[in-house]
Symmetry: C2
Subunit: 554 residues, 2 copies
């Protein structure tokens, strides 16, 4: 096969809800580049699971090809799988990102005891060569500073990957999206565009982060007592605006919550968050300062039950509490699934009687993702021949695909992928590639495991219906039942009562009956134990706990 | 105590999230009246629980006083506890409500096998006397037809209870809120107003249900294939508008989903839903009719996984499926906590590629609860001397309390209650009453039980971490271990592996060691078994499954 016919493969890995969000592999011949290595958080469909990682088996199988890992920005869903991946790789692979992102990642490496990672700082305009790939980074704006899009050139064609972005024309740090670069790449020819679909169903233009400043300043200026602001700890620009507003009115800033302490420290060390040492005070010193001179910057904007805000709202924080005269600003929007937790904190705060500002009361939050007009602008500037919406659930990918068609990409050139799908590009033409082992793996009890539906189903059943353990000792010689013990946990009170009064006897009589026959096997006895209890419980209490029968011969 | 000093007690019962929502007792001397008898649905904080009922112990303890039960409208959170309550009462107590509400309730009675309930139909303006209570019903508008507010007069003073309401000036059935009655009672003197707080944080005026009709008609008229509309089955006016729009463009209506079938049948029988027999077809006959002549009315607007819409979206419905050329209208807004389920159905539909209309794409839903301007209007017309916001979480009660103060009720006359609180009125003056046993009880496996935190905690632990049962047989005489069996369910793979390789031996050696001492008790052996396994698992896998040790002597 002549070299020019080698295909560039574009392989999204992971993506429980959002293709091309957590990790994407780009492979050309003997070279592979990974873009992002993020994780997901479990919900009620994954009981007991700690974290969810992309299944990067494909990367490990092709480890010898891996030339580098590019991290577009510092959010967990783009960085969180890195420590696991690095631990699984047998050699050091260079990691390219901005100073801030690398600073945030370093914290994770320290936690996971990963020594001397091969990190490489890049900035707007940096071009690197990784095997057959020439990659140029360009500045983008997002809800964390120092985010990048990338433009990648290979013998098979070119790809632009936006990373997570919005077009913020007035970013807090003055680092605008590099429209010039995007247009230049667009003019030079973008064969395939991968673009962020998170807000593809939202009309209009996402407001600038600067829009939040006015209301934050207004609320902080007019508050009577202490002001508590809950925000994402990685949203350094938001934190900067809160700090600026506080200092402007002569308030000191107290930082609380583990990730808030870490991220503000890293961001200040690296020069991304600017506030004088004098203007920050320790939570333990806060009582020395009048209430009207204090702003508390805290975690908990998603209602996390163990966060600083939740603990302060319920009086369980070790050094701070919230009073009626105070003001609380919840400077974020609930991520889907967190609505009830956030509501529950707002209820606690309502009982305290403090002032509460959330998104419904003013512009105390704006999204970090591009809305429809920005997405169209991106399509207009990049002018891609082929388009693959990424980073969104099925609804958002489809909405973004429709925008692509509106912007003139032929419908047959728009690819909405599902888990396991891939694309390939040959001579600047893109088509669907072969299926790749994809999906996700779980971090469960400290170890990474394949998703095991039996375990999850068992946990759901245990959690809903409880468990009964029925232990029976039978005598090998006498053919008789020597002992029976039946115990339940998590049962409804009717099942618990029934078990106490009739459980043991039901098991004993069933086993005795079975043994009176032609010497029933242990398996048959076990089935008998399970059936006797499950019939008893279903008939009399209409419950179906999990039953674990144990039959032991002595 | 002279009769005029007898207190009218106002006792909210239940109210997991929404004081005075599910059931409120009004007691004056030897007479008691109950307003509503509803239930709540459990969430992840109540694993395995079927339903949540108000704890109506107080009602049962005072059963001889109970003169009647008033049901304001037919929603589950106001009617669902009735069958349980009636079963617990030793005599028949009359139930007052509208024809529709009684019709809906009758279905529940049939399910629960409750014979000959003493139901009494009332209508706008009906006045009844129940002991010392004179009660007048007045029409209100809500997201179910035939809702009432009530005005209650007692020797201690008067109370107005709005029920759930919005001020719909153009209701689909022409039955407007009875402003005249509200103003008349206001003029005659309302000592205490209890008013619906659900939307107390929402500015403005909730749009009329009629506002939904235009967009529904537009979408149904312009759809190419079948149209599927998911709505609350009790929202008869919504169903009426969907039926009208369908018939107007020559489409037949197919009804699917259990509660949708029941409610449309009841509503048609009672004259609340009007559609000709000819215009309704059975789901099994739908294939005889061209797609563009069909509208499917279905359950599942909240993303319920077993609903008709969910089954049709995933291809699991027995007679209907959704195709790319079809249109789906989700004619509701997710109730907090259901956002992810609804999103998940929208994702399935996006994969099918059909047209999807939800609230973001047009007015296909409006709330059934009054917004701030309506709540102020209610306060302006009722002119209460005292005010108790009801039916809302802490945030909404507080917001409504603030509206009350804005409208001129003195802050000291506004009462925001918590679970267990009560009010009492003596000679037209309202103050806080004594605490009442309140709270909720659970329906768990068919029986009603006290909330048992141990059971719920056990279920949460079982569901998150799994369970290990460790059975040990020891010989009484020999002082030796005769048999050990260790089994796990729902464990992480590392814990499962460890258990298989080392579990049995860890238990055996620990028990042997303990028995080598001065004949350890069964309790001590049990503790030993638990500790040996929990240490082993924690040290090597950092997991903490529930451990059930069983020690049997033979």
């Amino acid at each position: 096969m002549p070299k020019k016919d080698i295909a560039l493969k574009i392989i999204p890995l992971g993506g429980l809800a959002g293709i091309g969000k957590n990790m994407t592999a780009f492979e050309y011949g003997d070279d592979m580049v990974l873009v992002d290595a993020g994780l997901m958080f479990p919900d009620e469909a994954q009981p007991g699971i700690d974290l969810i990682l992309p299944d990067y088996t494909y990367v490990l199988e092709n480890e010898d090809k891996l030339r580098g890992i590019i991290i577009t920005h510092g959010h967990e869903d783009h960085t969180g799988a890195l420590p696991y991946l690095l631990a699984d790789l047998t050699r050091k692979v260079p990691i390219y990102s901005s100073k801030l992102t690398l600073g945030i990642i370093q914290g994770k490496f320290d936690e996971h005891n990963i020594k001397n990672p091969k990190t490489r700082e890049v900035s707007d305009g940096t071009t690197i060569t990784l095997g057959a790939f020439t990659i140029t980074f360009f500045s983008m704006t997002h809800s964390i500073p120092a985010a990048f899009g990338i433009f990648m050139s290979t013998p098979a064609g070119t790809v632009m990957h936006t990373g997570d972005f919005k077009f913020d024309q007035t970013p807090i740090d003055g680092r605008r999206p590099n429209f010039h670069a995007i247009n230049k790449f667009g003019a030079s020819g973008v064969d395939l565009l991968l673009s962020d679909s998170t807000n593809a169903t939202r009309p209009g233009f996402t407001p600038s982060e600067a829009a939040v400043g006015r209301d934050l300043r207004h609320v902080i200026k007019n508050a009577k007592g202490r002001v508590f602001v809950a925000a994402f700890s990685s949203h350094i620009h938001r934190l900067q605006q809160i700090c600026d507003a506080s200092v402007a009115v002569g308030r000191k800033v107290v930082v609380t919550g583990r990730s808030m302490l870490t991220n503000t420290r890293v961001a200040r060390e690296l020069g991304y968050l600017r506030i004088a040492e004098d203007d920050i005070i320790d939570a333990y010193d806060v009582d020395r300062i009048p209430d009207e001179k204090v702003v508390v910057l805290c975690t908990g904007s998603q209602g996390e039950p163990l966060s600083a805000l939740a603990r302060m709202a319920t009086g369980e924080h070790k050094s701070l509490s919230i009073h009626e005269s105070d003001t609380v600003i919840i400077s974020s929007t609930p991520i889907p699934g967190n609505e009830k937790s956030v509501q529950s904190i707002i209820n606690e705060l309502s009982k305290i009687g403090c002032e509460i500002y959330d998104k419904s009361k003013g512009t105390v939050h704006v999204s970090g993702h591009a809305s429809q007009e920005e997405l169209k602008l991106m399509l207009a500037m990049a002018r891609p021949r082929y388009f693959m919406p990424v980073h969104g659930e099925a609804q958002h990918l489809r909405a973004h695909a429709e925008l692509g068609v509106q912007m003139g990409v032929p419908a047959s050139h728009v690819f909405v992928l599902d888990n396991g799908d891939s694309l390939e590009m040959v001579k600047h033409k893109v088509r669907r590639g072969r299926a790749v082992e994809s999906g996700v793996v779980y971090v469960d009890g400290g170890t990474v495991t394949e998703a095991n539906p039996v375990v999850l189903r068992d946990r759901q059943k245990l959690g809903a219906d409880g468990v009964i353990t029925a232990s029976v000792v039978v005598s090998k010689r006498g053919g008789s039942v020597s002992a029976v013990e039946v115990l339940g946990r998590g049962l409804s009170s009717s099942a618990e009562g029934l078990l106490a009064s009739e459980g043991r006897e039901a098991v004993r009589s069933q086993v005795t009956k079975l043994m009176a026959g032609d010497g029933a096997s242990v398996d048959a006895l076990r089935r008998g134990v399970r059936n006797s209890l499950s019939n008893l419980l279903w008939n009399k209490t209409h419950t179906r706990p999990m039953i674990i029968p144990v039959v032991m011969e002595v």
